[in-house]
């Protein structure tokens, strides 16, 4: 069977923001004067390959700047790979930087509808799922307020609830459990287990080992854009924490 996620030899290069012209004036002057200040580049990923099967949850661990979030960015189509093959099957739900991409000035409802239409659901399908989304987030009475007025915990709950209830085939989660209380975390663990049983593939990025243990069967250890090791959760975690 075709894996839900297939990544082969993925490379990603960033051009650092401060080294590119930010004004038409600068760009024109640069060309006229022939002043080619060197473009500063940074390779965030250097040849990463892995697969995730449907119904499998895979964790990505590694220190800051190891490329964990870049992997999720590429899988969600947000970032364009510099080189390599990336194939993702089905509908993708992503929580990057613990946010679903909510706009702070839109209300809860408007944001849910926006995300849903980006994920390819019709208005009717969205409205049918709205009660479940509000129920899970416990945000029923806040749905008509702009999300910038939400508390951090409420924001995270609604973002998570939105994405998991829109029936994604692939779920990309970046540091989602950095906020919220114990009870919400337990709620999330239960929901993620349900998602997996239904055949949803999950990629879970966290620097908290305990959370990875709760969610994932397999782990990828990333460092400086390369895979150091990959394998069953306990084995990789004990090597990672021991290292």
């Amino acid at each position: 069977m075709q894996p839900a996620i297939y990544v082969e030899d993925l490379w990603k290069r960033y051009v650092l923001l401060h080294s590119r012209p930010r004004r038409i004036k600068d760009a024109v002057l640069r060309r006229l004067l022939g002043r080619h200040s060197s473009r500063e580049e940074f390779w965030a990923l250097r040849g990463v390959s892995f697969e995730v099967a449907a119904g499998e949850a895979i964790g990505i661990i590694g220190p800051n700047g190891s490329g964990k979030s870049t992997v999720l960015g590429v899988l969600s189509r947000l970032l364009r790979p510099t080189k390599g093959v990336v194939q993702v099957q089905g509908r993708v739900g992503a929580l990057l930087e613990a946010s679903a991409g909510f706009h702070p000035d839109l209300t809860g409802i408007e944001n849910v509808q926006m995300i849903a239409s980006l994920m390819g659901l019709s208005r009717k399908e969205t409205l049918a799922r709205l009660p479940a989304i509000m129920e899970f987030a416990g945000a029923r009475e806040f749905m008509d307020a702009a999300v910038r007025t939400y508390s951090t915990g409420m924001f995270a709950r609604l973002a998570f609830s939105t994405v998991v209830h829109l029936e994604p085939d692939v779920l990309l989660l970046d540091e989602i459990l950095a906020v919220g209380d114990e009870e919400f975390h337990e709620q999330c663990y239960r929901r993620l287990a349900q998602m997996r049983e239904r055949g949803c593939a999950i990629v879970f990025v966290s620097h908290i080992v305990e959370q990875i243990r709760r969610v994932c069967q397999r782990v990828i250890w990333l460092e400086s854009g390369r895979i150091v090791a990959t394998g069953p959760t306990e084995e990789i975690i004990s090597r990672y924490t021991g290292a």
Binding site: I24, S76, R80, E97, G101, F102, R123
Partner: protein, 270 residues
């Protein structure tokens, strides 16, 4: 580029939502909000009428109405083109974190201004009930002019939105360029004020001049710039319209192409 065009259709619900959102911000969810937005054109017209009639003592008949006829399409052009520049940055929280067909953002600016334009046209027709202007079958030609204008504005909006996201002095440059074109286009004066007929002929090859004077020509003089319908002494001729239409198509294609080329890097640079 074709993919970006197809996405406009696939994600039309999103375009509708974003347009509604822009309108809500503009009118602050009230009809009074719409009336408030009429203040700027109103004082422009009042001041220019005073200047033309009493200071310059120019004897242009129905000057205020002639100004209004061209101001409505011009305002649509100006607010869309300048308003689209910063739209990607305004939605950076979304653009950075979720994949989206981001050409919808400048198009939503155009969409909300189109609604405003259509409401303004209604008001214009309301004014026509009380001033000596005759409703005429030639008014149907306004649909063609609006189509050309919409295509041109959509293309420029996508082009400038993509440029501004990469180069942050774009909005400043565009705002000033638009201001220059405001004076080079027959908005606050009719094209007949360009006295030399040869100059006027070439002057109307400016696409916005053809559109604005085209609106005025249809509404005030029932002039339709189509071959076979040209009246003696008509200002906007079929060749002016043709150039404007081709320019609009080129703008749309160029805007879509440049936007599709640039948009993959938006999440990295906003």
């Amino acid at each position: 580029m074709l993919e970006a065009l197809k996405e406009i259709w696939i994600y039309r619900q999103l375009l509708y939502d974003l347009t509604a959102r822009e309108l809500k911000i503009r009118y602050r969810r009230s009809f009074l909000g719409f009336l408030w937005s009429l203040i700027t054109p109103l004082y422009q017209i009042v001041i220019m009428t005073i200047v033309v009639k009493y200071i310059w003592q120019h004897s242009e008949p129905n000057y205020s109405i002639k100004f209004l006829c061209a101001l409505v399409p011009w305002a649509f052009f100006q607010t869309s083109v300048t308003g689209a520049c910063a739209i990607i940055l305004k939605y950076r929280q979304m653009v950075k974190r979720i994949w989206m067909p981001s050409q919808m953002l400048p198009l939503a600016v155009v969409g909300s201004n189109l609604v405003h334009f259509l409401l303004s046209m209604l008001i214009l027709f309301g004014v026509f009930l009380v001033v000596p202007v005759v409703f005429h079958v030639s008014f149907l030609f306004l649909i063609v002019l609006t189509g050309i204008l919409l295509l041109m504005v959509s293309g420029l909006a996508m082009l400038f939105a993509a440029l501004h996201t990469a180069y942050q002095d774009t909005e400043y440059i565009i705002t000033n360029l638009v201001q220059v074109f405001y004076f080079l286009t027959p908005v606050m004066y009719p094209a007949s004020w360009v006295k030399n007929p040869a100059w006027r002929y070439w002057y109307l090859f400016n696409p916005m001049a053809a559109v604005c004077e085209g609106f005025r020509g249809v509404l005030m003089r029932h002039e339709v710039p189509l071959p076979g319908l040209v009246m003696p002494g008509q200002v906007v001729l079929p060749e002016h319209l043709l150039v404007a239409a081709v320019f609009a198509l080129v703008c749309f294609a160029a805007g879509l192409w440049y936007f599709a080329l640039q948009r993959w890097q938006f999440p990295e640079i906003v």
